[in-house]
């Protein structure tokens, strides 16, 4: 089975380890594809990032370019989105603020809304958000790193909100993506363990597997076709 890690940071932005180290660890843990989704920190650094990712080749591991957007306002998010959308395969927006969560699910250019519960006491999603997410085909991302780095009450609250979001995604038939969100090679985990964590939140094993296999593959393939000019939004050349 081919496993995908949809969000990995490197030292090209906020990560600690180099792209080569992260790629080697991912291969050792059994991933077949990783998405290097470094944080957007201006266009110049973004261009440098794209060049660096192209240079690295690891046998038996596919490396895909992505970007993570962390915006304080909706306008900032939309501005960055228009600059990066046609350059990478996966666009991830970090959620948390309700206005951002809502704007993300309303914008079909985004692929994944990551951690909509982050920094909140509620789950960060309401019925309107879920309807828009379904309509626009936006996946909800669950990142493992904040769980790993939090303890006791914080972790318990995060688990509670993730569990609520997974249940809502199941009810509304919204796709879920699981990823390590690793900033160093020590944050990475075996993909089967991430499936087990999703399973312990109440997601059935099949959905847990598709969060790390089928769903990321669908997103990458869709964007690969769009970037190659073989498809536009809503239509495809057969």
């Amino acid at each position: 089975m081919k496993f995908y890690d949809s969000q990995i940071f490197t030292n090209l932005s906020v990560g600690e380890d180099s792209l080569e180290k992260m790629a080697e660890t991912a291969k050792a843990l059994g991933y077949s594809t990783i998405v290097i989704a470094d944080l957007f920190q201006g266009l110049d650094r973004f261009k440098l990032f794209l060049e660096e990712v192209q240079k690295v080749k690891v046998d038996g591991l596919e490396i895909i370019t992505g970007v993570t957007i962390e915006a304080k306002t909706v306008d900032e998010m939309k501005n960055v989105l228009s600059k990066v959308r046609d350059k990478v395969f996966v666009v991830i927006v970090n959620g948390g603020d309700y206005a951002i969560n809502r704007a993300v699910v309303e914008d079909s250019r985004v692929d994944i809304l990551m951690n909509p519960h982050m920094g909140r006491i509620d789950s960060g999603l309401d019925e309107a958000c879920l309807n828009f997410a379904k309509q626009n085909g936006i996946a909800i991302g669950i990142n493992f790193r904040p769980l790993l780095k939090s303890f006791r009450r914080q972790r318990s609250l995060a688990l509670q909100n993730i569990s609520t979001n997974l249940e809502l995604c199941k009810d509304f038939k919204i796709r879920v993506v699981g990823c390590s969100g690793a900033m160093s090679k020590w944050d990475m985990r075996d993909p089967r363990q991430l499936v087990a964590i999703a399973n312990s939140f109440g997601l059935d094993l099949g959905s847990g597997f598709s969060a790390l296999t089928g769903t990321p593959l669908e997103i990458i393939e869709k964007n690969r076709k769009i970037l190659a000019g073989e498809a536009v939004k809503g239509a495809e050349v057969i």
Binding site: T25, A28, L29, F144, L147, L148, F151, R152, K185, W186, M188, R189, D190, R192, Q193, L194, A196, I197, N199, S200, L205
Partner: protein, 126 residues
């Protein structure tokens, strides 16, 4: 006078065991006791005392190989997924960063040794 022990229950009355094979990814050698402490800490933190008891976790000292940093953990068949999840929260063993990679799950120690650690017995050569 030798201590009296209860007779062993018939197999249908015993709980179903599973053995989780793991490998530690780290830069330095470690002792089993340190690793066992870190694992127990993580399991109790994530599952709590009640679910750890239900999972019947036992970290087997005799199966730990310090050279390859591999070993087995015994659980009940219903606790396997939860223990696998809990092991991913092990971050450090005595201030050294580690990753606990689960290699797989097996029903017996013998099968786990053959499947994950490449052990061979004489029958495999015939």
């Amino acid at each position: 006078m030798p201590e009296r022990r209860p007779n062993i229950l018939s197999s249908s009355l015993r709980y179903k065991k599973r053995y989780i094979a793991y490998k530690i990814i780290c830069d330095k050698d470690m002792e089993f006791s340190e690793l066992s402490n870190a694992m127990w800490h993580s399991i109790l933190d994530y599952l709590g005392e009640k679910f750890a008891a239900e999972a019947r976790v036992w970290i087997l000292k005799s199966t730990f190989d310090p050279k390859t940093r591999t070993g087995l953990i015994r659980t009940s068949h219903i606790g396997t997924e939860n223990v696998r999840a809990a092991l991913s929260f092990v971050q450090k063993v005595k201030d050294e960063k580690v990753i606990v990679q689960v290699l797989g799950v097996s029903g017996t120690i013998k099968a786990a040794n053959q499947k994950f650690f490449g052990h061979r017995d004489l029958r495999s050569f015939s």
